[in-house]
Assembly symmetry: C2
Homo-oligomer: 521 residues x 2
């Protein structure tokens, strides 16, 4: 009976794990695997939230970020926005509870979705310094400031102090201050780089960054208008799996199954709904809650058989191919730029879209490896490049077709920069740290199509450039022999050497001009 004893002992140890404890222990999942990245992640989570909040409230974002080194490797991080703020009795929950948020259950493009990001930052802050976080919030009336920690075992906020003050300047927004262990750097993967790329994709935002060495970087607003606000959509029948449908039917407020189909899904009108129920052999008037598992299975099958138009795409807010090209031009000094905006695709009923831009030549001539700039829902992705669907799509594209060298299953070589922007109501990140897109085959396929479109456009330029170079080489060669040739012809034709030489030079010149003209047409 040793074994039974073991079973009992082992079973006794079974217990619940708080989600905060889980992420505290596995903090690298949230982007805290080293002290450099930790600081970047804290800033990123706060800035992403601020941008989302401003856009939702229709406010042009102005965000102030500042870092100060308090003692060796301990930083004070402050992020302040001019967003709508959060009402008083929700602030502590929005910041002090993981898996708590407003964006998870919604189908609409936004930076955050998980309800983990900023509370994860607080978790890291208190873990490494033990200091509470300070949050001021105002919706335009008084300013409320709380100091709090997260009770990790309960996954709940624990408020230490709370106070209100008058708000004569009618400030609205959120200001957070926290202390955390970290290492500050500038360069390739850094806060400045994150903010710079953010500014490129969000040209309507103003971002001011004060570094620990007291330098101030201002990323100015270059467009004074917010993009159209993405609209929330309902799930599309084609993307709904049986498990989800069952839950929707269990919890719907619709009185009969016909109105359930029409009200709880996008693109289902009375005709399609009737058709679905006819195929499933279910009475239109049947109450959703009374359906059996078997009946739900039949409805699920029928939903995929009826012809429906694709889900609406106004839940997305892509940047636009021209804007993307401008962004890349600002970023990288190259000879030529192309950009592509793919039509919206649908995966699991979820619309998504891929935009991409390429830059070639110029400053890029001296780079060792192709530069890939990755973005998802306007947020730059700085880490985990190797495991990102964007990188995989780049590697799987045959760049040699477009005149760019590439070895087997590698990033292409040559003076090329690649920018890819993925927008979706749901971005499948490879981890909660949200730095890479998971390799769903449908997503890789669509990114590859965008890269191929852009590659073909760039090929035209590369071929011309190559022809031009060859022409130039031939001209140079010809030029070199003009004196010799002139002398030869002069002897044969009994014409002055000088005259022939001038004639040949003219021919060469007009030939070059003709070529250039053709090239421009």
């Amino acid at each position: 009976m040793i074994k039974m004893k073991a079973a009992e002992d082992l079973s006794k140890e079974l217990k619940e794990i708080s989600v905060a404890e889980f992420f505290e222990k596995n903090r690298h999942l949230l982007g805290y695997e080293n002290s450099t990245r930790a600081l970047i992640t804290i800033v990123k989570e706060a800035v992403d939230n601020s941008l989302d909040a401003c856009e939702e409230a229709g406010i042009l974002p102005e965000i102030k970020v500042s870092l100060k080194e308090l003692e060796d490797s301990v930083f004070k991080i402050t992020v302040e926005d001019n967003g709508p703020g959060i009402i008083e009795d929700k602030v502590h929950l929005a910041f002090g509870k993981l898996l708590y948020g407003s964006k998870f259950h919604r189908l609409r493009q936004s930076r955050g979705t998980q309800g983990i990001g900023i509370s994860g930052a607080i978790l890291y802050s208190q873990l490494t310094t033990g200091k509470p976080i300070r949050i001021s919030s105002s919706t335009g009336k008084k300013i409320n400031t709380i100091e709090m920690l997260i009770d990790v075992v309960k996954n709940a906020p624990s408020i230490i102090s709370q106070q209100g003050e008058s708000n004569q300047k009618k400030w609205h927004g959120i200001k957070i201050e926290m202390q955390a262990k970290g290492r500050y750097i500038e360069g390739f993967q850094s806060i400045i780089e994150y903010l710079r790329q953010t500014a490129i994709m969000n040209p309507y935002a103003k971002i001011i960054f004060k570094t620990p060495n007291d330098h101030q970087h201002t990323f100015s607003r270059v467009i004074n208008k917010l993009p159209p606000k993405p609209k929330e959509i309902k799930p599309h029948p084609y993307g709904v799996e049986i498990g989800i449908l069952r839950r929707m039917i269990q919890t719907t407020k619709s009185k009969n199954i016909l109105s359930f189909l029409m009200r709880d899904f996008s693109r289902v009108g009375k005709r399609s709904a009737t058709q679905i129920l006819k195929l499933a052999k279910i009475d239109n008037k049947k109450k959703p809650h009374s359906l059996t598992h078997d009946e739900i299975d039949k409805i699920h099958n029928a939903m995929h058989l009826v012809k429906l138009i694709a889900p609406p795409t106004d839940c997305l807010s892509p940047v636009g191919d021209e804007e993307l090209k401008k962004g890349l031009e600002k970023e990288i000094k190259a000879e030529h730029y192309v950009s592509v905006s793919r039509p919206t695709s649908v995966y699991r009923g979820m619309p998504f879209s891929v935009e991409c831009a390429l830059a070639y030549g110029g400053d890029l001539e001296n780079t060792r490896r192709v530069n890939v700039l990755r973005f998802a829902n306007k947020v730059p992705l700085l880490y985990n490049q190797g495991d990102c669907a964007i990188t995989k799509a780049v590697v799987q594209t045959d760049w040699r077709r477009y005149g760019i060298s590439q070895s087997f299953e590698s990033l292409p070589n040559g003076p090329l920069a690649i920018l890819v922007h993925f927008v979706s109501a749901w971005v499948p990140y490879t981890s909660e740290g949200k730095q890479a897109i998971a390799s769903y085959p449908e997503i890789i396929k669509e990114i590859k199509l965008a890269l191929q479109d852009a590659g073909r456009k760039m090929k035209l330029y590369i071929s011309k450039r190559r022809r031009k170079q060859q022409m130039k080489m031939r001209q140079n060669l010809f030029e070199k022999y003009i004196p010799e040739v002139s002398e030869g012809i002069s002897k044969i034709s009994e014409t002055s050497k000088e005259k022939i030489r001038t004639g040949l030079e003219k021919i060469l010149e007009s030939g070059a001009k003709k070529y250039e003209k053709e090239d421009q047409d």
Copy 2:
């Protein structure tokens, strides 16, 4: 006041997200991003649990896995073990609740830790088929069988049926049956490959796999003894962060701070504890719960100043370098094998160890790219190679030093296979799908040291092989000229051509023998 309205509207939408909902939507985090990988993940989660349970109970594992295609793309997956089973009133929780388990709060090497794996498999199963899972469990007495689903919104099991039956054969263990959408393949990333690699690292387990096409693969037990059971350890003071220390002090059962330090940590005796408190200027008799934040900070600082021996390493159960080499020999037909077992290292107070083996030549001569076999706590890692600390360590190692060609920042080229095994009481996976190790710098460093040790060993062989090849080439060249040389010498020395020829051939032969002998010494 538009903004205030916005704030209120937005704040109203804030709500809690269940951890089951989170993973249902982000199922790729658990390894369900496509239908091929989904089946592998289900089998892996069940088999990993079975191996852990058997080892903990001291039972030699015998695991039966079977797959059956019920209809197009829908499979029935069955996994049965001979482990200790789970007591009746805990089964539904162990399987039907995410973040529920026995291994999270424990410092000891095991395959599972998160309390997510098997419930994640059930989540995927019910999402794609809507069918309940069937679990039979016995601790040796009667057999209890339940059918259940997971209530996703509540993250709780929902039992559909429950029954007990007598157990005349005194079977003990767990048998689970579930249905899920999937795609079955064999080859590089597959269930067979996962089981084959599992068998290599767990030679004391017997695994029987019945494929959907009714083939049966048996991975036999080759060692009839379980490895020593890893022991649970307490946290080491050097690895405890201020946030954790504070929580430990809040929840300890120790009556005074001196006994807290001695009882709740490893490697702290009375002398070290007294020394810590003296440095922190805290009275030994002070009650832990009465300490202020400031006092806890002082203790935390003092804990890092006192000299303590490294944490005990018996919480780990590495495979051993010889066993590892044997495993690789079984796996790959090569000319030469080397292996290395690094001494235990400590990171954040957590002991970990790296073992590695290399194979060179033989069948590997024809491979295009180096084969990297990755393992963590005896579990093969089949996916996310690009983002794994092991791959990064391989890429960052300078293989040209050891006679193996490699281009800049790439995997080496040539007839080489690399096996790396990482063991730790805590493996920082890059996602809950547990297929890659996060890039903590300390871990990459230690893996690189192991690879360098192995590389140096392999270099000896590669150099010898190269010298041998050169010798051979020289011999061949010499052999070719023997007739000509013999004739020449014959004329000069007036000796018969045949005699000289035989003499030269003998010299050549003994030279080669001498060389070979030297080579063996």
